[in-house]
Protein backbone atom coordinates (compact mmCIF):
# COMPACT_ATOMS: atom_id res chain seq x y z
CA UNK A 1 0.00 0.00 0.00
CA UNK A 2 2.78 2.32 0.89
CA UNK A 3 4.59 1.88 -2.43
CA UNK A 4 1.50 2.72 -4.46
CA UNK A 5 1.48 6.09 -2.74
CA UNK A 6 4.82 7.04 -4.23
CA UNK A 7 3.95 7.41 -7.90
CA UNK A 8 0.55 8.96 -7.13
CA UNK A 9 1.80 12.50 -6.77
CA UNK A 10 3.80 12.19 -9.96
CA UNK A 11 1.11 10.79 -12.20
CA UNK A 12 0.07 14.12 -13.66
CA UNK A 13 3.48 15.56 -14.28
CA UNK A 14 4.47 16.02 -17.94
CA UNK A 15 6.33 13.31 -19.81
CA UNK A 16 9.26 15.65 -20.34
CA UNK A 17 10.22 14.96 -16.76
CA UNK A 18 13.38 12.84 -16.50
CA UNK A 19 12.89 9.23 -15.41
CA UNK A 20 13.49 8.44 -11.74
CA UNK A 21 17.16 9.13 -11.42
CA UNK A 22 19.80 8.56 -8.85
CA UNK A 23 19.32 12.19 -7.90
CA UNK A 24 15.63 11.70 -7.24
CA UNK A 25 16.32 8.72 -5.01
CA UNK A 26 18.95 10.69 -3.11
CA UNK A 27 16.48 13.51 -2.63
CA UNK A 28 13.81 11.21 -1.27
CA UNK A 29 16.29 9.77 1.22
CA UNK A 30 17.26 13.29 2.23
CA UNK A 31 13.61 14.23 2.71
CA UNK A 32 12.96 11.17 4.84
CA UNK A 33 16.01 11.94 6.96
CA UNK A 34 14.95 15.55 7.49
CA UNK A 35 11.53 14.38 8.54
CA UNK A 36 12.92 11.77 10.89
CA UNK A 37 13.85 13.75 14.04
CA UNK A 38 10.57 15.58 14.68
CA UNK A 39 8.44 12.67 13.56
CA UNK A 40 10.33 10.29 15.83
CA UNK A 41 9.71 12.61 18.77
CA UNK A 42 6.03 12.95 17.93
CA UNK A 43 5.64 9.20 17.58
CA UNK A 44 7.41 8.55 20.90
CA UNK A 45 5.36 11.18 22.72
CA UNK A 46 2.14 9.85 21.26
CA UNK A 47 2.47 6.12 20.61
CA UNK A 48 5.28 5.44 23.07
CA UNK A 49 3.33 7.16 25.83
CA UNK A 50 0.05 5.47 24.94
CA UNK A 51 1.72 2.05 25.11
CA UNK A 52 3.48 2.98 28.33
CA UNK A 53 0.15 3.98 29.86
CA UNK A 54 -1.38 0.66 28.85
CA UNK A 55 1.66 -1.18 30.22
CA UNK A 56 1.36 0.67 33.55
CA UNK A 57 -2.29 -0.29 33.82
CA UNK A 58 -1.20 -3.91 34.27
CA UNK A 59 1.24 -2.99 37.00
CA UNK A 60 0.98 -2.13 40.68
CA UNK A 61 2.91 1.12 40.50
CA UNK A 62 2.08 3.94 42.93
CA UNK A 63 3.96 6.52 44.94
CA UNK A 64 5.14 4.03 47.56
CA UNK A 65 5.79 1.12 45.24
CA UNK A 66 8.33 1.92 42.56
CA UNK A 67 8.98 -1.70 41.64
CA UNK A 68 6.30 -1.73 38.93
CA UNK A 69 5.25 -5.35 39.58
CA UNK A 70 2.97 -7.07 37.12
CA UNK A 71 -0.50 -7.48 38.62
CA UNK A 72 -2.48 -8.60 35.59
CA UNK A 73 -6.04 -7.33 35.44
CA UNK A 74 -6.24 -6.26 39.08
CA UNK A 75 -6.59 -2.54 38.32
CA UNK A 76 -9.35 -3.19 35.83
CA UNK A 77 -11.21 -5.46 38.23
CA UNK A 78 -11.01 -2.74 40.87
CA UNK A 79 -12.37 -0.21 38.42
CA UNK A 80 -15.35 -2.26 37.43
CA UNK A 81 -16.00 -2.87 41.08
CA UNK A 82 -15.98 0.86 41.75
CA UNK A 83 -19.36 2.60 42.05
CA UNK A 84 -17.92 5.96 41.02
CA UNK A 85 -16.50 4.52 37.81
CA UNK A 86 -19.87 3.04 36.93
CA UNK A 87 -21.45 6.49 37.43
CA UNK A 88 -18.72 7.96 35.22
CA UNK A 89 -19.51 5.56 32.38
CA UNK A 90 -23.21 6.43 32.54
CA UNK A 91 -22.37 10.12 32.71
CA UNK A 92 -20.06 9.83 29.72
CA UNK A 93 -22.75 8.18 27.62
CA UNK A 94 -25.34 10.84 28.48
CA UNK A 95 -22.84 13.62 28.00
CA UNK A 96 -21.61 12.39 24.61
CA UNK A 97 -25.14 11.70 23.37
CA UNK A 98 -26.52 15.12 24.29
CA UNK A 99 -23.38 16.93 23.20
CA UNK A 100 -23.40 15.22 19.79
CA UNK A 101 -27.14 15.66 19.32
CA UNK A 102 -26.97 19.41 19.95
CA UNK A 103 -23.85 20.02 17.85
CA UNK A 104 -25.00 17.93 14.89
CA UNK A 105 -28.66 18.95 15.05
CA UNK A 106 -28.22 22.70 15.49
CA UNK A 107 -25.04 22.79 13.42
CA UNK A 108 -26.78 21.15 10.49
CA UNK A 109 -29.88 23.32 10.84
CA UNK A 110 -27.82 26.51 10.85
CA UNK A 111 -25.78 25.35 7.85
CA UNK A 112 -28.94 24.64 5.84
CA UNK A 113 -30.38 28.03 6.83
CA UNK A 114 -27.17 29.77 5.80
CA UNK A 115 -26.67 27.80 2.59
CA UNK A 116 -28.40 30.36 0.41
CA UNK A 117 -27.18 33.95 0.75
CA UNK A 118 -28.98 36.02 3.33
CA UNK A 119 -28.59 39.53 4.68
CA UNK A 120 -26.04 39.54 7.50
CA UNK A 121 -24.71 36.03 6.89
CA UNK A 122 -21.11 36.94 7.72
CA UNK A 123 -22.22 38.41 11.04
CA UNK A 124 -24.23 35.27 11.83
CA UNK A 125 -21.32 32.98 11.00
CA UNK A 126 -18.92 35.07 13.07
CA UNK A 127 -21.27 34.91 16.06
CA UNK A 128 -21.92 31.16 15.79
CA UNK A 129 -18.22 30.23 15.55
CA UNK A 130 -17.16 32.78 18.16
CA UNK A 131 -17.50 30.43 21.19
CA UNK A 132 -14.97 28.08 19.59
CA UNK A 133 -12.29 30.72 20.28
CA UNK A 134 -13.36 30.94 23.94
CA UNK A 135 -11.58 28.53 26.26
CA UNK A 136 -13.46 25.79 28.09
CA UNK A 137 -12.45 27.27 31.43
CA UNK A 138 -13.89 30.69 30.53
CA UNK A 139 -16.97 28.98 29.11
CA UNK A 140 -17.32 27.02 32.32
CA UNK A 141 -17.03 30.13 34.49
CA UNK A 142 -19.73 31.96 32.50
CA UNK A 143 -22.13 29.00 32.46
CA UNK A 144 -21.48 28.25 36.10
CA UNK A 145 -23.30 31.51 36.81
CA UNK A 146 -25.77 31.26 33.94
CA UNK A 147 -26.89 27.95 35.37
CA UNK A 148 -26.64 28.99 38.99
CA UNK A 149 -30.01 28.02 40.48
CA UNK A 150 -30.72 31.45 42.04
CA UNK A 151 -30.04 33.60 38.98
CA UNK A 152 -28.88 33.47 35.38
CA UNK A 153 -31.12 31.51 33.03
CA UNK A 154 -33.65 30.86 35.78
CA UNK A 155 -33.92 34.61 36.36
CA UNK A 156 -34.49 35.10 32.62
CA UNK A 157 -37.23 32.45 32.71
CA UNK A 158 -38.88 34.27 35.61
CA UNK A 159 -38.64 37.60 33.83
CA UNK A 160 -40.20 36.07 30.70
CA UNK A 161 -43.00 34.53 32.75
CA UNK A 162 -41.95 30.96 32.00
CA UNK A 163 -40.72 30.18 35.48
CA UNK A 164 -42.03 26.61 35.21
CA UNK A 165 -39.00 25.86 33.00
CA UNK A 166 -36.63 26.61 35.85
CA UNK A 167 -34.13 23.92 36.77
CA UNK A 168 -31.28 23.48 39.18
CA UNK A 169 -29.16 22.56 36.13
CA UNK A 170 -25.80 21.10 37.18
CA UNK A 171 -26.87 21.13 40.81
CA UNK A 172 -29.74 18.77 40.01
CA UNK A 173 -28.41 15.21 40.36
CA UNK A 174 -30.75 13.70 37.78
CA UNK A 175 -29.63 15.97 34.93
CA UNK A 176 -26.27 17.34 36.12
CA UNK A 177 -24.16 16.01 33.28
CA UNK A 178 -26.74 16.93 30.65
CA UNK A 179 -26.60 20.52 31.92
CA UNK A 180 -22.84 20.42 31.36
CA UNK A 181 -23.36 19.25 27.78
CA UNK A 182 -25.18 22.51 26.95
CA UNK A 183 -22.15 24.83 27.28
CA UNK A 184 -20.00 22.13 25.66
CA UNK A 185 -22.30 22.23 22.63
CA UNK A 186 -22.43 26.02 22.81
CA UNK A 187 -18.71 25.94 22.07
CA UNK A 188 -18.75 23.42 19.22
CA UNK A 189 -22.03 24.01 17.34
CA UNK A 190 -20.55 26.80 15.22
CA UNK A 191 -17.66 24.56 14.30
CA UNK A 192 -20.05 21.79 13.26
CA UNK A 193 -22.05 24.30 11.26
CA UNK A 194 -18.86 25.36 9.45
CA UNK A 195 -18.16 21.73 8.49
CA UNK A 196 -21.67 21.24 7.08
CA UNK A 197 -21.71 24.61 5.38
CA UNK A 198 -18.42 23.85 3.61
CA UNK A 199 -20.01 20.64 2.28
CA UNK A 200 -23.24 22.33 1.19
CA UNK A 201 -21.39 25.16 -0.53
CA UNK A 202 -19.09 22.59 -2.12
CA UNK A 203 -21.99 21.08 -4.09
CA UNK A 204 -21.35 22.25 -7.63
CA UNK A 205 -23.68 24.86 -9.07
CA UNK A 206 -24.12 22.53 -12.07
CA UNK A 207 -25.75 20.00 -9.80
CA UNK A 208 -27.99 22.65 -8.27
CA UNK A 209 -29.04 23.90 -11.69
CA UNK A 210 -29.62 20.40 -12.94
CA UNK A 211 -31.87 19.75 -9.97
CA UNK A 212 -33.73 22.98 -10.65
CA UNK A 213 -34.09 22.07 -14.35
CA UNK A 214 -35.61 18.77 -13.37
CA UNK A 215 -38.18 20.79 -11.49
CA UNK A 216 -36.91 19.95 -8.05
CA UNK A 217 -38.35 22.20 -5.40
CA UNK A 218 -36.16 23.56 -2.65
CA UNK A 219 -37.18 20.74 -0.35
CA UNK A 220 -36.54 18.09 -3.00
CA UNK A 221 -33.11 19.54 -3.70
CA UNK A 222 -32.19 19.15 -0.05
CA UNK A 223 -33.85 15.79 0.26
CA UNK A 224 -32.20 14.15 -2.76
CA UNK A 225 -29.00 16.15 -3.35
CA UNK A 226 -27.82 18.11 -0.32
CA UNK A 227 -28.65 15.76 2.56
CA UNK A 228 -26.94 12.71 1.00
CA UNK A 229 -23.88 14.90 0.30
CA UNK A 230 -23.72 15.63 4.03
CA UNK A 231 -23.54 12.00 5.16
CA UNK A 232 -19.72 11.74 5.06
CA UNK A 233 -19.48 15.09 6.85
CA UNK A 234 -21.84 13.84 9.54
CA UNK A 235 -19.59 10.85 9.97
CA UNK A 236 -16.37 12.82 10.37
CA UNK A 237 -18.10 15.36 12.62
CA UNK A 238 -19.34 12.50 14.81
CA UNK A 239 -15.81 11.13 15.17
CA UNK A 240 -14.26 14.54 15.88
CA UNK A 241 -16.94 15.53 18.40
CA UNK A 242 -16.98 12.07 19.96
CA UNK A 243 -13.24 12.27 20.56
CA UNK A 244 -13.66 15.73 22.07
CA UNK A 245 -16.40 14.51 24.38
CA UNK A 246 -14.11 11.71 25.59
CA UNK A 247 -11.39 14.11 26.63
CA UNK A 248 -13.68 16.73 28.20
CA UNK A 249 -12.15 17.73 31.49
CA UNK A 250 -11.98 21.53 31.80
CA UNK A 251 -15.65 22.35 31.53
CA UNK A 252 -17.02 20.31 34.48
CA UNK A 253 -13.96 21.39 36.48
CA UNK A 254 -14.85 25.06 36.01
CA UNK A 255 -18.60 24.58 36.45
CA UNK A 256 -18.88 22.24 39.41
CA UNK A 257 -15.30 21.62 40.48
CA UNK A 258 -15.36 18.37 38.50
CA UNK A 259 -17.32 15.72 40.32
CA UNK A 260 -20.44 17.73 41.16
CA UNK A 261 -23.20 16.59 43.53
CA UNK A 262 -23.01 12.80 44.11
CA UNK A 263 -20.55 12.53 41.19
CA UNK A 264 -23.34 13.58 38.83
CA UNK A 265 -21.04 15.69 36.66
CA UNK A 266 -18.05 13.38 37.06
CA UNK A 267 -16.40 12.06 33.91
CA UNK A 268 -13.69 9.42 33.63
CA UNK A 269 -11.17 12.16 32.80
CA UNK A 270 -11.75 13.77 36.20
CA UNK A 271 -11.63 10.43 38.03
CA UNK A 272 -8.40 9.61 36.21
CA UNK A 273 -6.86 12.97 37.12
CA UNK A 274 -7.73 12.66 40.81
CA UNK A 275 -6.58 9.05 40.99
CA UNK A 276 -3.24 9.62 39.30
CA UNK A 277 -2.27 13.14 40.35
CA UNK A 278 -3.94 13.67 43.70
CA UNK A 279 -3.93 10.16 45.15
CA UNK A 280 -0.78 9.08 43.25
CA UNK A 281 -2.30 5.72 42.33
CA UNK A 282 -0.65 5.78 38.93
CA UNK A 283 -1.55 2.29 37.81
CA UNK A 284 -5.22 2.67 38.60
CA UNK A 285 -5.21 6.03 36.80
CA UNK A 286 -3.45 4.36 33.88
CA UNK A 287 -6.20 1.73 33.74
CA UNK A 288 -8.86 4.45 33.36
CA UNK A 289 -6.72 6.16 30.71
CA UNK A 290 -6.18 2.86 28.88
CA UNK A 291 -9.91 2.29 28.56
CA UNK A 292 -10.25 5.78 27.05
CA UNK A 293 -7.39 4.98 24.65
CA UNK A 294 -9.02 1.75 23.51
CA UNK A 295 -12.38 3.44 22.91
CA UNK A 296 -10.65 6.25 21.00
CA UNK A 297 -8.83 3.80 18.76
CA UNK A 298 -12.02 1.90 18.01
CA UNK A 299 -13.70 5.20 17.09
CA UNK A 300 -10.80 6.38 14.97
CA UNK A 301 -9.80 3.31 12.97
CA UNK A 302 -12.61 3.58 10.40
CA UNK A 303 -12.00 7.33 10.16
CA UNK A 304 -8.28 6.95 9.48
CA UNK A 305 -9.01 4.13 7.08
CA UNK A 306 -11.32 6.34 5.09
CA UNK A 307 -8.72 9.10 5.07
CA UNK A 308 -6.19 6.52 3.88
CA UNK A 309 -8.32 5.45 0.94
CA UNK A 310 -8.58 8.99 -0.41
Amino acid sequence: MANTAVPMSRQNTPVTQPPPSKRRVTERVQAAMMLAPTITIVLIFIYGFLFWTIFLSFSGWNDVNFEVPFVGLRNYLRLFDNARFMIDITNQLWFSAFFLAQCLGFGFLLAVLLDRPIWGEDVFKTIYIFPFAVSSIVTGVIWRWLMYPDTGINLLFDMAGIGFLKSKWYAEPSIGIIAVSIPAAWQMTGYTMALFLATLRGISSDLREAAAMDGATGWQYYRYVAFPACIPTTYSATVILGMLSLRTYDLPAAMTGGAGPNYRTDLASNFMFETAFQQYRYSLGAAIASLVIVISIILLIPYIREAESQ
Partner: protein, 276 residues
Protein backbone atom coordinates in the same frame (compact mmCIF):
# COMPACT_ATOMS: atom_id res chain seq x y z
CA UNK B 1 -34.41 35.90 -6.00
CA UNK B 2 -33.62 32.44 -7.25
CA UNK B 3 -37.02 30.97 -7.93
CA UNK B 4 -35.85 27.37 -7.93
CA UNK B 5 -34.95 26.74 -4.30
CA UNK B 6 -37.10 28.72 -1.89
CA UNK B 7 -37.63 26.22 0.91
CA UNK B 8 -38.32 28.89 3.50
CA UNK B 9 -38.97 32.57 3.11
CA UNK B 10 -35.98 34.78 3.81
CA UNK B 11 -37.82 36.45 6.66
CA UNK B 12 -38.39 33.17 8.52
CA UNK B 13 -34.81 32.10 7.90
CA UNK B 14 -33.59 35.42 9.25
CA UNK B 15 -35.70 35.14 12.39
CA UNK B 16 -34.42 31.64 13.20
CA UNK B 17 -30.83 32.68 12.53
CA UNK B 18 -31.24 35.76 14.72
CA UNK B 19 -32.71 33.66 17.53
CA UNK B 20 -29.64 31.41 17.50
CA UNK B 21 -27.37 34.46 17.28
CA UNK B 22 -28.91 35.75 20.50
CA UNK B 23 -28.40 32.38 22.15
CA UNK B 24 -24.74 32.23 21.14
CA UNK B 25 -24.00 35.83 22.11
CA UNK B 26 -25.88 35.79 25.43
CA UNK B 27 -23.09 34.25 27.58
CA UNK B 28 -20.52 36.67 26.13
CA UNK B 29 -22.92 39.54 26.74
CA UNK B 30 -23.25 38.47 30.38
CA UNK B 31 -19.45 38.21 30.66
CA UNK B 32 -19.05 41.74 29.32
CA UNK B 33 -21.77 43.51 31.33
CA UNK B 34 -20.74 41.81 34.58
CA UNK B 35 -17.07 42.66 34.13
CA UNK B 36 -17.79 46.38 33.81
CA UNK B 37 -20.10 46.71 36.81
CA UNK B 38 -19.00 48.19 40.15
CA UNK B 39 -18.85 45.55 42.89
CA UNK B 40 -21.87 46.87 44.78
CA UNK B 41 -24.02 46.22 41.69
CA UNK B 42 -23.09 42.56 41.49
CA UNK B 43 -26.07 40.64 42.78
CA UNK B 44 -28.07 37.63 41.69
CA UNK B 45 -31.27 39.64 41.34
CA UNK B 46 -29.76 42.22 38.99
CA UNK B 47 -27.55 39.92 36.95
CA UNK B 48 -29.09 40.96 33.64
CA UNK B 49 -29.17 44.70 34.31
CA UNK B 50 -26.81 46.84 32.28
CA UNK B 51 -23.99 48.50 34.22
CA UNK B 52 -24.90 52.04 35.27
CA UNK B 53 -21.73 53.23 33.67
CA UNK B 54 -18.38 51.94 32.54
CA UNK B 55 -16.58 50.83 35.69
CA UNK B 56 -13.14 49.25 35.66
CA UNK B 57 -13.03 48.26 39.36
CA UNK B 58 -13.73 44.62 38.64
CA UNK B 59 -11.23 44.39 35.81
CA UNK B 60 -8.56 46.17 37.86
CA UNK B 61 -9.05 43.90 40.83
CA UNK B 62 -9.14 40.76 38.69
CA UNK B 63 -5.97 41.92 36.97
CA UNK B 64 -4.14 41.95 40.30
CA UNK B 65 -5.18 38.29 40.73
CA UNK B 66 -4.17 37.08 37.29
CA UNK B 67 -1.62 39.50 35.81
CA UNK B 68 1.35 37.27 36.65
CA UNK B 69 -0.46 34.26 35.20
CA UNK B 70 -1.34 36.22 32.09
CA UNK B 71 2.37 36.90 31.54
CA UNK B 72 3.18 33.23 32.21
CA UNK B 73 0.72 32.23 29.49
CA UNK B 74 2.40 34.63 27.05
CA UNK B 75 5.82 33.15 27.92
CA UNK B 76 4.52 29.69 27.05
CA UNK B 77 2.15 30.40 24.17
CA UNK B 78 4.22 32.60 21.87
CA UNK B 79 7.34 30.41 21.48
CA UNK B 80 5.29 27.22 21.39
CA UNK B 81 2.98 28.53 18.62
CA UNK B 82 5.88 29.87 16.59
CA UNK B 83 8.09 26.79 16.85
CA UNK B 84 5.32 24.28 16.23
CA UNK B 85 4.31 26.27 13.14
CA UNK B 86 7.88 26.33 11.83
CA UNK B 87 8.28 22.57 12.34
CA UNK B 88 4.85 22.01 10.81
CA UNK B 89 5.79 24.04 7.73
CA UNK B 90 8.82 21.85 7.23
CA UNK B 91 7.10 18.53 7.86
CA UNK B 92 4.10 19.50 5.78
CA UNK B 93 6.38 20.33 2.88
CA UNK B 94 8.22 17.01 3.06
CA UNK B 95 4.98 15.03 3.34
CA UNK B 96 3.39 16.93 0.46
CA UNK B 97 6.22 17.01 -2.03
CA UNK B 98 8.74 14.26 -1.27
CA UNK B 99 6.78 11.11 -0.78
CA UNK B 100 8.94 8.14 0.05
CA UNK B 101 7.90 4.55 0.72
CA UNK B 102 5.93 4.56 3.95
CA UNK B 103 5.45 8.32 4.12
CA UNK B 104 1.70 8.03 3.77
CA UNK B 105 1.43 5.66 6.72
CA UNK B 106 3.72 7.85 8.72
CA UNK B 107 1.49 10.81 7.94
CA UNK B 108 -1.63 8.94 9.02
CA UNK B 109 0.06 8.01 12.27
CA UNK B 110 0.86 11.67 12.86
CA UNK B 111 -2.71 12.58 11.94
CA UNK B 112 -3.98 10.42 14.78
CA UNK B 113 -2.11 12.73 17.15
CA UNK B 114 -4.68 15.46 16.45
CA UNK B 115 -7.33 13.42 18.21
CA UNK B 116 -5.07 12.32 21.02
CA UNK B 117 -6.97 11.70 24.26
CA UNK B 118 -4.77 13.63 26.67
CA UNK B 119 -5.60 11.37 29.59
CA UNK B 120 -3.76 8.61 27.75
CA UNK B 121 -0.35 10.28 27.82
CA UNK B 122 -0.32 12.35 31.01
CA UNK B 123 1.24 9.81 33.38
CA UNK B 124 4.24 8.93 31.16
CA UNK B 125 4.55 12.59 30.26
CA UNK B 126 5.08 13.58 33.87
CA UNK B 127 7.58 10.74 34.34
CA UNK B 128 9.60 11.59 31.24
CA UNK B 129 9.65 15.33 31.91
CA UNK B 130 10.79 14.57 35.45
CA UNK B 131 13.61 12.37 34.17
CA UNK B 132 14.67 15.12 31.73
CA UNK B 133 14.54 17.74 34.53
CA UNK B 134 11.86 19.64 32.59
CA UNK B 135 8.95 19.00 34.94
CA UNK B 136 7.63 22.19 36.52
CA UNK B 137 9.48 24.37 34.04
CA UNK B 138 8.22 26.65 31.27
CA UNK B 139 10.59 24.94 28.84
CA UNK B 140 8.93 21.60 29.60
CA UNK B 141 5.44 22.94 28.95
CA UNK B 142 6.60 24.71 25.78
CA UNK B 143 8.16 21.49 24.45
CA UNK B 144 5.00 19.53 25.20
CA UNK B 145 2.83 22.07 23.39
CA UNK B 146 5.21 22.01 20.42
CA UNK B 147 5.20 18.22 20.19
CA UNK B 148 1.42 17.92 20.48
CA UNK B 149 0.99 20.83 18.07
CA UNK B 150 3.05 19.27 15.28
CA UNK B 151 0.27 16.96 14.01
CA UNK B 152 -2.19 19.80 13.33
CA UNK B 153 0.42 22.24 11.99
CA UNK B 154 1.80 19.52 9.70
CA UNK B 155 -1.72 18.87 8.43
CA UNK B 156 -2.39 22.59 7.83
CA UNK B 157 0.85 23.06 5.88
CA UNK B 158 0.59 19.79 3.99
CA UNK B 159 -2.83 20.79 2.72
CA UNK B 160 -1.45 24.14 1.67
CA UNK B 161 1.66 22.82 -0.07
CA UNK B 162 -0.26 20.08 -1.88
CA UNK B 163 -1.97 22.84 -3.84
CA UNK B 164 1.39 24.14 -5.12
CA UNK B 165 1.91 22.64 -8.61
CA UNK B 166 4.63 20.00 -8.90
CA UNK B 167 5.87 21.81 -12.01
CA UNK B 168 7.19 24.61 -9.82
CA UNK B 169 9.17 22.09 -7.82
CA UNK B 170 10.52 20.43 -10.98
CA UNK B 171 11.50 23.76 -12.49
CA UNK B 172 13.49 24.61 -9.39
CA UNK B 173 15.12 21.17 -9.44
CA UNK B 174 16.21 21.67 -13.04
CA UNK B 175 17.83 24.88 -11.85
CA UNK B 176 19.78 22.75 -9.40
CA UNK B 177 17.79 23.28 -6.18
CA UNK B 178 17.71 20.37 -3.75
CA UNK B 179 15.17 19.45 -1.10
CA UNK B 180 16.12 22.41 1.07
CA UNK B 181 16.54 24.79 -1.86
CA UNK B 182 13.02 24.12 -3.11
CA UNK B 183 11.72 24.75 0.40
CA UNK B 184 13.58 28.02 0.82
CA UNK B 185 13.07 29.51 -2.63
CA UNK B 186 9.68 28.16 -3.71
CA UNK B 187 7.66 26.93 -0.77
CA UNK B 188 8.50 29.20 2.13
CA UNK B 189 7.71 32.45 0.28
CA UNK B 190 4.34 31.00 -0.74
CA UNK B 191 3.49 29.76 2.74
CA UNK B 192 2.83 33.01 4.59
CA UNK B 193 -0.99 32.61 4.65
CA UNK B 194 -0.54 29.08 6.00
CA UNK B 195 1.71 30.50 8.73
CA UNK B 196 -1.13 32.84 9.64
CA UNK B 197 -3.62 29.99 9.88
CA UNK B 198 -1.22 27.78 11.82
CA UNK B 199 -0.11 30.47 14.27
CA UNK B 200 -3.69 31.48 15.03
CA UNK B 201 -4.75 27.88 15.55
CA UNK B 202 -1.80 27.11 17.80
CA UNK B 203 -2.07 30.34 19.76
CA UNK B 204 -5.73 29.69 20.46
CA UNK B 205 -5.37 26.09 21.53
CA UNK B 206 -2.24 26.64 23.65
CA UNK B 207 -3.60 29.78 25.28
CA UNK B 208 -6.85 28.00 26.08
CA UNK B 209 -5.17 24.86 27.42
CA UNK B 210 -5.86 24.07 31.03
CA UNK B 211 -5.07 20.40 31.71
CA UNK B 212 -1.47 20.18 30.46
CA UNK B 213 -0.50 23.45 32.14
CA UNK B 214 -2.14 22.25 35.36
CA UNK B 215 -0.23 18.97 35.35
CA UNK B 216 3.19 20.27 34.33
CA UNK B 217 3.51 23.60 36.19
CA UNK B 218 2.88 22.86 39.85
CA UNK B 219 4.48 26.04 41.22
CA UNK B 220 1.66 28.57 41.94
CA UNK B 221 3.77 31.49 40.66
CA UNK B 222 4.16 29.80 37.30
CA UNK B 223 0.53 28.86 36.70
CA UNK B 224 -1.00 29.74 33.36
CA UNK B 225 -3.90 32.15 33.20
CA UNK B 226 -6.51 29.41 32.63
CA UNK B 227 -5.35 27.55 35.74
CA UNK B 228 -5.55 30.79 37.72
CA UNK B 229 -9.07 31.56 36.47
CA UNK B 230 -10.22 28.05 37.34
CA UNK B 231 -8.72 28.37 40.83
CA UNK B 232 -10.67 31.59 41.40
CA UNK B 233 -13.92 29.63 40.99
CA UNK B 234 -12.96 27.48 43.94
CA UNK B 235 -12.23 30.37 46.27
CA UNK B 236 -14.93 31.81 48.49
CA UNK B 237 -13.66 35.35 48.91
CA UNK B 238 -14.43 36.42 45.35
CA UNK B 239 -17.93 37.17 44.14
CA UNK B 240 -19.00 36.16 40.68
CA UNK B 241 -18.15 39.61 39.36
CA UNK B 242 -14.46 39.12 40.02
CA UNK B 243 -14.55 35.64 38.48
CA UNK B 244 -16.21 37.01 35.36
CA UNK B 245 -13.73 39.87 35.07
CA UNK B 246 -10.81 37.45 35.39
CA UNK B 247 -12.43 35.23 32.76
CA UNK B 248 -12.81 38.19 30.43
CA UNK B 249 -9.13 39.07 30.85
CA UNK B 250 -8.14 35.46 30.16
CA UNK B 251 -10.39 35.25 27.10
CA UNK B 252 -9.48 38.62 25.59
CA UNK B 253 -6.39 37.64 23.53
CA UNK B 254 -8.16 34.85 21.65
CA UNK B 255 -11.36 36.90 21.30
CA UNK B 256 -9.41 39.82 19.80
CA UNK B 257 -7.54 37.51 17.43
CA UNK B 258 -10.79 35.88 16.39
CA UNK B 259 -12.55 39.17 15.70
CA UNK B 260 -9.61 40.65 13.78
CA UNK B 261 -8.61 37.56 11.82
CA UNK B 262 -11.78 35.50 11.58
CA UNK B 263 -11.07 34.59 7.96
CA UNK B 264 -7.77 32.89 8.79
CA UNK B 265 -9.35 31.35 11.87
CA UNK B 266 -12.12 29.91 9.74
CA UNK B 267 -9.62 28.23 7.42
CA UNK B 268 -7.81 26.60 10.33
CA UNK B 269 -11.17 25.32 11.55
CA UNK B 270 -11.73 23.35 8.37
CA UNK B 271 -8.13 22.14 8.10
CA UNK B 272 -8.56 19.93 11.15
CA UNK B 273 -11.26 17.92 9.49
CA UNK B 274 -9.90 17.46 5.97
CA UNK B 275 -9.33 13.94 4.86
CA UNK B 276 -5.68 12.94 4.93
Amino acid sequence: MNRSTPYLSDAIRFIILAFFAIYFIMPIYLLAITSFKPFEDISFATMWNLPKGFYLDGITQAWTYVSQNFMNSIIVTLPASLLSSILGSFNGYLFAKWRFPGSRWLFLMVLFGIFLPYQGILIPLVQVLGALDLYGKYAGLIIVHIVFGIPITTLIFRGYYSAVPDELVDAARIDGAGVLGVFRHIMLPLAMPAFGVSMIWQFTSIWNDYLIGLVILSNPDMRTVMVAVKNLTGSFFTNYGAQMAAALIAASPTIIIYLLLSRLFHRGLLAGSVKG
